[in-house]
Subunit: 376 residues, 2 copies
């Protein structure tokens, strides 16, 4: 065998690649047709059952050809994601068409996402900006849904100021990441249905498919049921939750974690090691961890300060965490292997079967992360 054989095979591979791309194009076109039909039938764009059926079909077919299972599964998950992207065009409406929606802060990142989606389902959407208070009465007149999408530190004030313009037939929603105090305030300053919402994603998402929205239907849940259904139809995954339960989980999920990331990043910046060196010498896992730290600092500091400082409970939790580090430091200083292993095992027990699952999942994710890396 010589080098000519290799050149021949490579030409065949290139031609094969073109054939695959051709079929992918055809596939995307077919998906668009399917979406048109679904829209005309008033069905949701995303169907979990259909996704499962597509995946199990390609997997079992791949098996007959002795192809690795995860190979086609990975590829089709990516193919399906592209399909969802294509479907943000038009969605069925779960209530009367041209229902009026006012989004307070509709020009912000999150406001824009909801504006786009409401419009795609034939709602009549109007943004209410800080300069609009003079025209508040006019803008809010006839609205069926009012969504407050403003920074958390002005949310309370906005609820109060909106109060005189709200009528009992309006559904009042907020999108803040803390629920109890705002849901309470909305109930105090509004007599109609109150639906607390917490979208668990940032303004950079391309589609709502599989994105989690926490809903706290605090008053007259039956009146806002169509709205929750509307979000589901857009592909979001709705999680109903009690406000207090939600806030307790968020102290850990958001406040504590963001704080530890912030503390790690600011410490690094003071130590000032060469980032270039560190990246060159990093394993994929540390590269990924550094990515998760660095990404925070590319974002709005106010947003993180607001989340971390949003409640006294957050501070108590963060303080308890800081105090828990002292005895661990002692363990390291004394090289107390026994205690280290004991605490390690306690944490392993806490994570339970998730620990193994997380190791497996992160392995798969790291492999994808490696794929993206330039080889040299």
């Amino acid at each position: 065998m010589d080098h000519k054989n290799l050149v021949d095979i490579r030409l065949k591979l290139d031609s094969l690649d073109e054939q695959i791309v051709d079929l992918l194009k055809k596939r995307l076109d077919l998906v668009k047709s399917a979406c048109d039909v679904k829209n005309s039938l008033g069905e949701g764009a995303y169907s979990h059952e259909r996704e499962e059926s597509i995946l199990s079909h390609v997997e079992s077919y791949a098996k007959t050809l002795s192809l690795p299972e995860n190979y086609v599964k990975d590829l089709w998950r990516r193919i399906l994601r592209e399909s969802y992207k294509g479907v943000i065009g038009h969605f069925a409406c779960t209530t009367d068409k041209n229902t009026k929606v006012v989004i307070v802060g509709g020009n912000g990142g999150m406001g824009q996402i909801f504006t786009r989606y409401f419009k795609s389902s034939d709602y009549d959407v109007i943004s209410f900006e800080p300069s609009d208070w003079d025209r508040a009465s006019e803008i809010l007149k006839g609205a069926k849904i009012v969504i407050i999408s403003v920074p958390i530190d002005v949310t309370l004030e906005v609820i109060k100021r909106l109060s005189p313009y709200l009528t009992e037939d309006m559904i009042l929603c907020d999108l803040t990441s803390v629920k109890a105090p705002y849901v309470e305030a909305m109930c105090k300053y509004h007599k109609g249905p109150v639906l607390g919402l917490h979208p668990m994603f940032g303004p950079d998402v391309k589609s709502l498919v599989k994105q989690v929205i926490v809903s706290v239907p605090e008053r007259f849940a039956d009146k806002s049921a169509f709205l929750v259904e509307q979000f589901s139809l857009w592909g979001a995954r709705l999680v109903k939750c009690d406000a207090k339960e939600h806030d307790e989980a968020m102290s850990i999920i958001q406040a504590l974690r963001h704080f530890t990331t912030y503390a790690y990043g600011t410490f690094l910046s003071k130590e000032n090691p060469s980032l270039k060196n560190i990246l060159m010498l990093s394993s994929p896992i540390y590269r990924l961890e550094l990515l998760m730290v660095g990404r925070l600092f590319a974002q709005n500091p106010r947003l993180y300060a607001d989340i971390i400082m949003s409640s006294k409970k957050n501070f108590e939790l963060i303080k308890a965490y800081a105090e828990s580090i002292k005895p661990e430091l002692e363990v390291i200083y004394k090289k107390d292997m026994e205690t280290f292993i004991k605490r390690f095992i306690e944490a392993r027990d806490y994570f339970g079967e998730y620990a193994q699952q997380f190791l497996k999942d992160s392995g798969a994710l790291l492999a994808k992360f490696q794929d993206d890396k330039e080889g040299f």
Copy 2:
């Protein structure tokens, strides 16, 4: 349009999917032929230039069909990864065939990987296990390469005990994650070539393609050059580094980061919030962060204790980190927005252009992470 149209389209999609799977099968078969040719030519399995050429070819072809650029890029990176997997079969040898390699701890996780690769390039590989000291002289006789792949806390002892059996023509290597003390010890107890190595991956990797190996060619680098070349031929990315520089970076990359993850996990286990609730209410980014924490506890506590406690410098760094948290806690307590933002911006400046890059990269990675998630 009615439901029958949808059924028709779905049948067409299923048939299209089968055609794509057929082509993927053909592609993998062609890759195997290419590998056979490469092996017979003594070429490395992985070629960065070829990877770039494949990617730019499908991307430009996809562009002519108005397909999104990242779509085909993501798919082909995954396709290429599968190709590399297929190629662990046989590799060219960068020195004389049947060169004798002794791997001390060859039955361990890392030892097994190197054993498999050395064998694939026609080396004569023998494992040296703790029970083999009686036969040490016999096992090491005629070895050209001796690799120490044992837990870090016994590495020093193993180097000393090996000393009388080592001859000047043997290349002595270690695989520990700390380099200076072990490279120094190897130079003290061995007169021949010394090559410190730090593989930046765990024993769970499927292939060495794109994996980083740090090399510290401490003595007679010209004698071990063929070995470094051998690793490159297997697809690994070699980074040459000074032992001290390496260790300084590792204090941050490994010791500090593992400690913070350990501290966060043990704190969570003491607070004991419901993991199920937390996962249900998590955004993709927190789910990913929790994954990175939980995965640590699925692994060997000794390994992490060894890394964290491997030097006094590590302790000093971790202590400095713990102390840096106090003033940050004060900031949160006082809700001192101004100082928070000031420190945030300092950290942003430290991350420099990487901050934006990390935000972009993590966005792409999170999208992949979402793909894998069951919708409901």
